[in-house]
Symmetry: C2
Subunit: 663 residues, 2 copies
């Protein structure tokens, strides 16, 4: 057998480059913490943090909200992955949220949280997040911190350059990472990549009132890898910018084969032009099966619908929608300055950071200052679009965000640092080590028209010795820096749930203005809601047994149930009658094949239970709710399938009583 | 329909009592934080915390490790619940850990972490944790922070008074919360509670070398609710103390019906006596089906075995094993002082805290100073066992832990405070409010023979306005207090994963001395491990396709696979070839019906994939591992079931190459 891997040249190049940059490499002994750091991150008991940080969990598939400057985890919001803690993806109401054209999928890889925008500013309505692996976009309602919608994205593989909002959330944009065969015949040799594999960039319309998403159109684009994206704003409103790597169009051993060319591309997309073509009827409907799952707050339940086609615009034919700009090399981040004029492109193996000018770009397009085509897309001349380059920024530039004072902050993966530079002069003014291997970074409002600034958060890839050890598997971590002064100052290391892949941060008031504390019981339209104890009942319909149950401090009703038979499918529909903030109840029964229910005030949730044996099965409230929480328990008796024990239920001294309905 | 609930008398009593104690009720405005609190909790970047805190996640079913004093979450250790983040309970290797006699169960309610003990001190070997709902005990290896064993507990319902170690971890003890019908006929009316329902207390032997657990014997005890327990130590070595409520033996509306009697019980168990009876062959083997799941570090895989019987000792017949001590009212905590002499019993509706003397108890037993029997168990006279009472401690006493200076700390749920009192005089010396509704508390080493002291952590039940709001569902929370001085000082609020039901804390060095950083590749005995790229292969066996895959920075081998057919069951066995600390790799493939793999250095993990359609499916590394992580990708081609596309695989320029084996 011959050795598989021949990439010594590349590894040597990286090693040499790394050696050249050792001046930037963090050494632990150098860490200097200013004396007031403790006071700056301390949020005294009873006080609130000043900023929300929404970080994706990366391979956890969820989103987590943190308080800044304390770094405290406020909430894990389940999105693409099952969450046993509150039954997400296990309860009858939430299972449908994880349906896809590949069946029920309990996990995904969530990368880029995106706050909805109005006039280029965070508006606190929704948070969008992408599922990479089985391409999907989710929308979280920031009034309830619940995932309300998950939309599958067809013709996509590795939904990475997603989801990025346009200036007024006209669209959420989702680009494929991996190009894949698209169309009628997708069963093609992998070696036919160049002929058969294409990319798709989806423009997803967002209903401005309810937030509902629908794919407006997909752009079919050359077969390369689409990595990240940002929307134009201000002067560049109507445009979108994607980074593209693997313009080598390699299909194997990409670490070597996709690192051959000196320059890959930034793709500039004129989505206003695409809209015109759609209006002109130039889109083509393509058959495509994808799921659209919505959670309804009134019924507290999710439903899936299956979409059957998608409107596509082929950029081979409609050539003035997209343009390539050459960019060194293997570009990762493509970020847009607050005024919309500068597009910062970070080639992760590049020694400089090119900054492109939107004005020069559009001038070059108007004058057709092109350097030929790549796969039928015009390539704008590098110098024609270039505003200038950031020189000697560090090694492995990845992502850039902006502050309120005209500075940009770029993460350097290989040299493990943040570099601060002046946007108009591209002059490096400060650099600070990160521990270790920073990926994305996040300035508060750092992709807004008017960033808030004050803090930058480093989202690191490696932790090693930064925390007490926990065996081979370590926490992942973020770091908080004060950027209010000229120099960046490290304040705090704080661990994260999953990989803190990317995060967005905004001032607390943007989110707090619109918080829901309870669900109104009177508005509960769940078909099995018991809105008071008089409405509780147990109904048999063949082998199906439905239990209308209520929970209130400190009892469940009914709390004694008899007459369940082996082979029955029992559905416990539990309504939390409380109408105070922070009085959830839980529900669990021994041997249940799902998880528990965690039911917020006014909500109804359902767990299915298929008892595997006869006997008496305790059930109880799982969320410590009151001084007599431990007494909030009951029993369900299960008899043999042929038993004559009648269905009975009740609560209190007279329990059990006879059922009131049996179909 | 008549109203179900008639409990106004009880609620009135609680209300009156609450009013009487309003002096103790925390008011937010009263919070005083000392000026040096920020410095006391600040762990500067690059420094390590001084204490590990292991907290159960309550209804999350997991355990979380935190650093103290920073309150930072170090790691969520998956135990009873599936964890999409690292594939726990989804991968082929870990699924068996969640098997029970009721089938595969993806969740439980984890309450009481217990560090293993040697001579009454935390020894850093293992952490035990109970699953309440479907009764189980788990053991976590603290060298790897992995759950290695889960043992189901038969004859139990709500495994709450668990798991408590004896002084040298001779046993881990697990008591049922809910009594249930035990024996040949368990299908009995719930109303026959008094005749048919019994409790079971399981004494689980722990192998001192490997930690393997086996049920040595079960004590069959009266049908009441067993709430919490603690082991005797020092003078009381050989004994165990359980709190018991519902001595009313009610089966419905327990909030009223189990709160009738002035006194319930502490049960004192002489397990040395039980051992004698076992040796004498007085135990009876009872048929009982329960699962025993073990994770083997060499094969990186779990296996289930099914146990078929359990040895029982009936305390109705063997009457000198257990004794009741009366205790006001609805006792919750039963805690033992460092010297083993004092048993502190907290009735959650009681106005005093009785402290029992082990010496007086054994004297009373020797002299038969009894007050009759309860359900065939001798009841020791209250005054005969009593050392004295803590007067006016607060309202709703729950749990007590101890410091290194002779003080006890008791949590007060209703009056929401911690009360510090002197163990020898039972005099209250300090009280401090908690926010809000404290349940358990934890002193560092607070159940050891020699507690470490310094901090007490309040594990609270209600959060409300303590953090930035996150819709109806809020984080749960703990609070850190400095107890190094005479007065307790609040330092920090820190949020937790799930409900921080109970926690144990110990100095960092106890855990750090024994940390594993990688799994040695040379010792990997996984049957599908490829220990270098030359060993990678793809083998078809009927519809089963096994992929021996390796991961190393920055590629997967093979990275091109063709010849998979619709209807195949594909198993990706991925071995992480890295041998450095903190270089995990992940693996995911589009449309996989499970989660991802997160593979530690030297480990092999397997995901099953049943492709639902033809096409080309990207796969990639999900854990950002290197500068060229984004290039760590591959493709699998799926053809129709009747296709003639041959099985091929490979990596590098020559890929794909023909398979080397096909059965």
């Amino acid at each position: 057998m011959t050795p598989f891997i021949k990439h010594s040249k590349l590894m040597l190049a990286v090693a040499v480059a790394t050696a050249a940059f050792t001046g930037c490499k963090p050494k632990k002994a150098e860490t200097v913490i200013s004396g007031d750091a403790a006071q700056k991150v301390y949020v005294a008991p009873g006080k609130l943090d000043e900023v929300y940080l929404f970080a994706s969990g990366g391979f956890s598939g969820q989103v987590a909200a943190y308080g800044i400057p304390s770094g405290r985890l406020l909430k894990v919001i389940p999105v693409f992955s099952q969450n046993p803690e509150n039954g997400w993806g296990y309860t009858e109401e939430t299972k449908a949220m994880l349906n896809t054209s590949h069946g029920f999928i309990p996990w995904d890889d969530a990368h880029h949280p995106q706050l909805s925008k109005t006039d280029g500013m965070d508006d606190g309505r929704w948070l969008f997040i992408n599922g990479n692996n089985t391409p999907r976009i989710a929308r979280i309602n920031l009034a309830t911190f619940k995932t309300e919608e998950i939309l599958e994205v067809p013709n996509s593989g590795g939904n990475h350059s997603s989801p990025y909002c346009t200036e007024n959330t006209e669209y959420v944009v989702a680009g494929t990472r991996f190009s894949v065969p698209i169309g009628n015949n997708t069963d093609v040799p992998i070696t036919s990549y160049k002929e058969n594999f294409r990319g798709a960039l989806s423009f997803i319309n967002v209903d401005q009132k309810e937030g509902n998403m629908n794919i407006a159109f997909q752009l079919l684009v050359p077969g390369v890898d689409y990595d990240l994206a940002r929307s134009g704003k201000g002067v560049s409103h109507g445009w979108m910018f994607f980074s593209c790597y693997n313009s080598e169009q390699a299909h194997t051993l990409l670490e070597v084969n996709a690192s051959q060319r000196d320059k890959d591309f930034i793709m500039a997309v004129n989505w206003k032009k695409a809209e015109e073509y759609v209006k002109q009827g130039k889109g083509k409907k393509m058959p495509a099966t994808y799921y659209h799952n919505k959670y309804d707050e009134k019924t507290h339940s999710a439903k899936s619908t299956v979409e059957k086609e998608v409107l596509t615009l082929d950029t081979r034919e409609l050539k003035d929608i997209v343009y390539f700009i050459p960019c060194p090399k293997s570009p990762h981040g493509a970020d847009v300055s607050p005024d919309g004029e500068n597009i910062v492109a970070s080639g992760k193996l590049a020694a400089v950071i090119p900054v492109f000018s939107f004005k020069k770009l559009t001038d070059a397009i108007a004058k057709k200052t092109f350097d030929g085509e790549f796969d039928n897309v015009s390539v704008v001349k590098y110098e024609a679009a270039l505003a200038g380059e950031v020189q000697k920024p560090g090694l492995g530039p990845l992502h850039t965000e902006f502050d309120d004072k005209g500075y940009a902050y770029t993460s350097m993966f290989v040299s493990s640092e943040i570099v601060k530079w002046k946007v108009d002069t591209r002059e490096v003014v400060d650099r600070v080590p990160t521990y270790y291997s920073i990926g994305h970074l996040c300035v508060v409002g750092g992709d807004n028209k008017k960033p808030y600034g004050k803090y930058v958060i480093a989202l690191n890839k490696i932790t090693k010795d930064r925390y007490l050890p926990t065996g081979p598997e370590l926490t992942q971590s973020a770091q908080l820096f004060d950027i209010s002064g000229e120099k960046m100052n490290l304040l705090l290391d704080f661990p994260t749930i999953g990989e803190p892949h990317y995060a967005q941060a905004c001032p607390a008031e943007v989110i707090m203005k619109n918080q829901k504390k309870i669900f109104e019981l009177s508005k509960n339209e769940h078909p099995y809601a018991a809105k008071n104890e008089q409405e509780t009942k147990v109904v048999r319909n063949g082998k199906r047994v439905d239990v209308w149950m209520t929970a209130i401090r400190s009892h469940l009703a009914p709390d004694n149930i008899e007459g369940i038979k082996q082979g029955d499918e029992v559905y416990f529909h539990v309504t939390n009658l409380e109408q105070d903030w922070d009085v959830p109840h839980g529900f669990a029964i021994k041997g249940a094949e799902n998880t528990e229910l965690l039911i917020m005030p006014g909500e109804t949730q359902t767990i299915k239970w298929t008892p595997k044996s006869t006997g008496v099965f305790p059930f109880y409230c799982t969320d410590f709710c009151s001084a007599l929480h431990q007494e909030m328990q009951g029993y369900a008796r299960v008899s043999a399938a042929n038993s004559t024990v009648a269905l009975k239920y009740g609560v209190g001294d007279t329990a059990p009583k006879d059922q009131v309905a049996q179909k």
